[in-house]
């Protein structure tokens, strides 16, 4: 079942707002088995809205429109679409009373006339309840097809997509076919290996994936491998993806730390928790990011004890007990110092495991011998410890994020004994 999207808002065309609504709706539609074939954005202008919705309706017969349903003067989507379909707006008395009651409950003062316009509906439209706000959604049907209007506030829009739109799509698909085709994806998350490294690891496996496509999605946290099965019956999709993932996994080995949106920090916390270990961190160039990544995970407090961020050399000595002479002899970015840092944090906070990072994030501070992006990382758990040296590309933020991810991964590998 094909459909088109139209997102309305002058902010979108000025570029101040990124159109995340279109992506959110597209994901929900695809998951439900529908297919978005085109998406358009127009400003808060009656003629432009009529033009875009009219074109889309003519092409696909089903259009989802978001934005411009609020009470202010620039909210004109409802009027434009009613115009397009040639139906007048009429006051929905029962919805007006509902609005007035809701208003009285939360606010003082009289009901503002601007909100009254929200109770005016195109004649014949079906009203979709909005549990999160005052602008209801609308479904308009005529001989040209169906137009669904949803509010543009992301939380309201997302809720209404789940509660109304997904069901409409499933219903239509069910009448079209007993097993409507769906498009499904599965993501394997890897880190510590480049795109070309993955190509080597996978060897010829990619050709054996048949109808499942493989996309390499590199980012600061590593390279995600996204497998997609396109337009297949729902039960077949899962089988195809499982088979494809089963072919890839043995090639990836320990490069693969998780699936879908698994966070490496959560994976590491789980590995620690299952071994009954607590952890401390010592950070220099990452400045707190490593601790922030770990503590972003709810429930991390049973494993993560704390950390020292030691930006200056003096702080490394005062807080972690790294001898000043060691820093003088080897430099703050060195194997000896990173090992002293990790052991210092474990000693100070009395933990059996630890992670440490020291490096040059830039833009200043690089030398010929230790250019910007040079980072030493150490991880320790009980009697095992490892230190590795990396040279990361990119600017300050990229180096810091890559360092954080690599540090988490080193502890994972130490825990796994590899």
């Amino acid at each position: 079942m094909d459909l088109e999207l139209v997102t309305v808002g002058t902010e979108l065309l000025l570029g101040f707002t990124i159109d995340s609504n279109a992506a959110d709706i597209a994901r929900a539609v695809s998951a439900a088995g529908g297919r978005v074939v085109r998406s358009a954005s127009v400003g808060d202008d009656g003629a432009d809205i009529r033009g875009a919705v009219g074109d889309a309706l003519e092409r696909s017969g089903f259009v989802v429109v978001t934005g411009g349903l609020g009470p202010t003067a620039d909210d004109i989507t409802k009027h434009a679409v009613a115009d397009l379909l040639g139906v007048p707006l009429v006051l929905d008395e029962s919805y007006l009373r509902e609005l007035e009651e809701r208003f009285a409950k939360y606010r003082r003062g009289p009901f503002p006339p601007s909100n009254r316009s929200q109770a005016e509906m195109p004649r014949g439209a079906r009203v979709l309840r909005n549990r999160r706000g005052t602008a209801p959604g609308l479904v308009l049907e005529d001989s040209k097809g169906t137009v669904v209007l949803l509010p543009g506030v992301p939380l309201e829009m997302r809720t209404m997509v789940e509660e109304h739109l997904v069901g409409m799509i499933r219903d239509r698909l069910a009448t079209e076919s007993n097993s409507p085709p769906v498009t499904r994806s599965m993501t394997l998350r890897t880190t510590g290996v480049t795109e070309s490294g993955l190509v080597s690891l996978l060897g010829g496996v990619e050709e054996a994936l048949d109808d499942v496509s493989l996309a390499y999605l590199p980012g600061f946290e590593g390279v995600d491998l996204r497998l997609t099965a396109w337009s297949v019956p729902e039960e077949e999709a899962a089988t195809l993806l499982e088979r494809a993932a089963g072919l890839l996994r043995p090639c990836l080995g320990r490069c693969c730390y998780g699936m879908e949106d698994d966070d490496l920090a959560a994976v590491v916390l789980d590995e620690l928790r299952s071994r009954g270990l607590t952890v401390a961190v010592a950070e220099s160039c990452t400045g707190g990011l490593l601790g922030a990544r770990l503590t972003a995970i709810p429930g991390s407090s049973d494993v993560f004890v704390g950390g020292m961020t030691t930006y200056s050399n003096e702080a490394k000595t005062a807080a972690l007990g790294v001898p000043g002479t060691v820093i003088d002899d080897h430099g703050a970015v060195s194997e000896v110092v990173v090992l002293e840092m990790v052991l210092g944090a474990m000693r100070q906070l009395d933990t059996p495991a630890g992670i440490a990072v020291t490096g040059i994030a830039g833009p200043a501070g690089g030398t010929a011998e230790k250019p910007v992006g040079t980072v030493w990382i150490a991880a320790a758990a009980r009697d095992r410890k490892r230190a590795v040296h990396q040279r990361f590309p990119g600017g300050r933020e990229e180096v810091r994020q890559r360092s954080t991810q690599a540090a988490l991964d080193l502890l994972r590998l130490v825990l796994l004994g590899s």
Copy 2:
């Protein structure tokens, strides 16, 4: 000068990728004085690309297309647009040699035939150099108008917008008029005050803004006030915005910490630097975010010495010297403890200034007396110190980010003596 955008990529219509390119181009076009009147996304399908680009060209006469210029089989934008305009593809020998040389420099092995297709250009097209990648941009002109093709990789696309597209727009505007109208914005950043608090502070000033519109943009870091002057001559835009900002600023007082994309962490570092002060941090619920915010700013190392992240009570005692009896008597989230934390960090790291945060980020750990979102924050500089208590809304990440921002702001206020 009106134009339309077409972004190409099946990923966009599956919702896996949010279309940030459209927003990036729109911002650059608006700043240059142009106006995006419609934006559309289509999949990697020849007919859909021809349809969307053809419609846009007919409406506006100038279309910017991104995506689908790479070497792989699903990159068909160049072919589709050449088809649409009825021109054949011809091999650009000099560009092919350039590609071969570039390839030889970075890779081993023979030049892959798939890359050869990148040197095929629609006859008569002007090639736009891509300094960041191998897919060049293209400008095609015919009686219907102009089509500009840019690669979809965001970094490549943004660079080419700045180096090529902006100049094309300015040139066209210059031939259309001596002083083409522009739309310009100015942002005042506030924190520590709600939207409705700002409405009270601004009183009737909003009505005096005349042709400048005011938008309230709330986020975890505070509320940004965006002033926009719409479609006015360039020299007038600056005057209008300065006048409007001049009306708002006295009402805002110290709530306003900066302009445009000023970061509060950078503002605080500047205030410390100008007073010759160094700073240390002590964090509990923020887990390192406060240090990460400060050290994200290049050059922070001359002011930021380090910090202690003390997640457990034992860590607060071991690393910061907070007496266990004080924690037992008052709880870890209390005024006494947060003050002990800030003084402990300053003492350990020998700094004259400090910031500390302790709170309950959730989802677990809340009580009737201290619900999730309860946070104590302290800041100190020389002999001045202050502690404040906050109750933040939202989930774990929101509480942590709001706490970090509030902690930075408290030190700013202590430094300003207010």
